[in-house]
């Protein structure tokens, strides 16, 4: 394995200082499931890692009906996957968590590491984005809160400045009038990165769709929203014909590439199929 220096931070301030002082090729080290693989496969030049797992206060999970679900930077995918609240109120998140890697990987991997790695195919991002989640960012000068939809600037790139650290994510409360789904499409069921991932979160009031968000994974430089498709659906009863034409619209809104996992054309087709299916599944909450 390539050599690197390991640093352990006890506070956010110390971690942030290490990030700025140690200079280029210094990265926060959370669950390490991306970082260690990238070091071993020589995909990323790493000179220093700053382990944040000893910093207190980053492991909490809280829920209340007005604020929603908030969890800290150190919370693993596995811990959230097993949480009854997540199973009951956020079936979309639960589906994404249970589909990420293996049990062993999920016991180390954090959701916030998955988000910060900013891969277009990351499984936790589409449902968090469709739910309108926002990110809490620490910096030594000013803390800020950023909507997840504005967090990504490209593949592997985010709005984080050097020395900034994500401390947590808040997902708005899951009301009784909401329906949610995340569908991951891969070549096989287990241990597979997404070929396409589609998340839908919607609100129904008296049979009319008052709000809907669609987020598409692995079909663009970042996870994308499908604003035109969403606009076609808002205010309708989500009848089959409208859903079909909106799903078609979503295929025009994405910008997939061809790679080892699938061709761009196939991905585009799957966006159409999965968007329709995800809306149907989200509506099952009201059946």
């Amino acid at each position: 394995m390539r050599r690197f220096e390991y640093h352990r931070a006890d506070t956010l301030e110390q971690a942030s200082r290490l990030l700025t002082d140690l200079g280029d090729d210094t990265f926060l080290f959370n669950g390490g499931t991306d970082l260690l693989v990238e070091i071993r496969e020589r995909l990323r030049r790493v000179r220093n890692v700053v382990d944040i797992k000893q910093i207190p206060g980053l492991s909490d999970i809280t829920y209340d009906e007005t604020r929603g679900l908030t969890f800290g930077a150190l919370v693993t995918v596995g811990r959230l996957e097993r949480l009854p609240l997540v199973c009951q109120r956020y079936p979309n998140l639960r589906a994404a968590f249970a589909s990420l890697g293996s049990i062993q990987v999920r016991n180390r991997a954090t959701v916030i590491g998955n988000v910060c790695r900013a891969s277009p195919s990351a499984d936790t991002i589409p449902p968090l984005m469709a739910d309108g989640a926002f990110i809490h960012i620490y910096s030594r000068t000013n803390m800020r809160v950023v909507p997840l939809a504005e967090f990504f600037t490209g593949p592997g790139k985010t709005v984080l400045a050097r020395g900034e650290i994500v401390t947590g994510i808040t997902v708005p409360p899951a009301g009784d009038n909401t329906g949610k789904a995340y569908l991951k499409h891969g070549r096989r069921k287990a241990m597979e990165l997404s070929t396409v991932g589609v998340a839908v979160s919607l609100c129904m009031d008296d049979g009319v769709c008052s709000d809907i968000r669609i987020a598409l994974g692995a079909v663009g430089a970042t996870v994308l929203r499908a604003p035109e498709a969403e606009a076609m659906l808002r205010g309708t009863r989500l009848d089959a014909a409208t859903v079909k034409s909106a799903a078609n619209k979503a295929t025009e809104e994405c910008t997939p590439i061809s790679n080892v996992r699938a061709s761009a054309d196939y991905r585009r087709d799957m966006v159409g199929v999965l968007t329709g299916r995800a809306i149907k599944q989200a509506l099952e909450a009201f059946a």
Binding site: F4, R8, G32, L36, R40, K53, I103, V105, N107, R108
Partner: protein, 160 residues
């Protein structure tokens, strides 16, 4: 840089002096001398390196040895309840021919132990979900499933 890491391995307090960029897997195999845990891929794909840390199964290749400070690590060497006795899973794996080349076996045994500790009567689907991070290139999995189900029955009988 080297550090001394104090931890508990298979019930015994140990310390190991390790390079800070060493994986827990390399430290267990090369520094502690516990070579039961295998290295198949070194990147989280195969599950051969599965060990149980503070009660949860993880890939030892995806964890640094320094991160094990103060923790409890269980490896396949700790599975046997005594020198002359096997864990029911080990016994069942032998009887069912669930191990051929044996490279995946330590990881699968640790995963199966955790599965049965949490869920004494797993369905086929439960076993499939539980083992989805463990690859076996030899057995075709059927005998592994048979062995786990048979061990589950024996462990249940032993409890009642």
């Amino acid at each position: 840089m080297k550090r001394i890491v104090e931890l508990t391995i298979n019930g015994e307090p140990r310390d190991m002096t390790v390079d800070t960029c060493r994986s827990l897997l390399d430290a267990l195999r090369d520094d502690v001398g516990l070579t039961g845990t295998k290295k198949g891929c070194d990147v989280g794909d195969c599950g051969a390196c599965t060990v149980i840390v503070d009660g949860e199964p993880v890939n030892a290749c995806l964890m640094l040895a320094v991160e094990a400070e103060g923790r409890t690590v269980e490896t396949v060497e700790g599975l046997q309840p005594g020198v002359d006795t096997l864990h029911p899973l080990q016994d069942a794996f032998m009887r069912h021919g669930a191990s051929q080349c044996g490279f995946c076996t330590p990881g699968i045994l640790m995963m199966a132990k955790k599965l049965l500790d949490d869920n004494p009567r797993p369905t086929n689907e439960d076993i499939r979900f539980g083992l989805s991070g463990n690859i076996c290139r030899c057995t075709g999995y059927t005998k592994i499933f048979d062995a786990i189900k048979s061990a589950a029955l024996e462990m249940e009988a032993a409890r009642s």
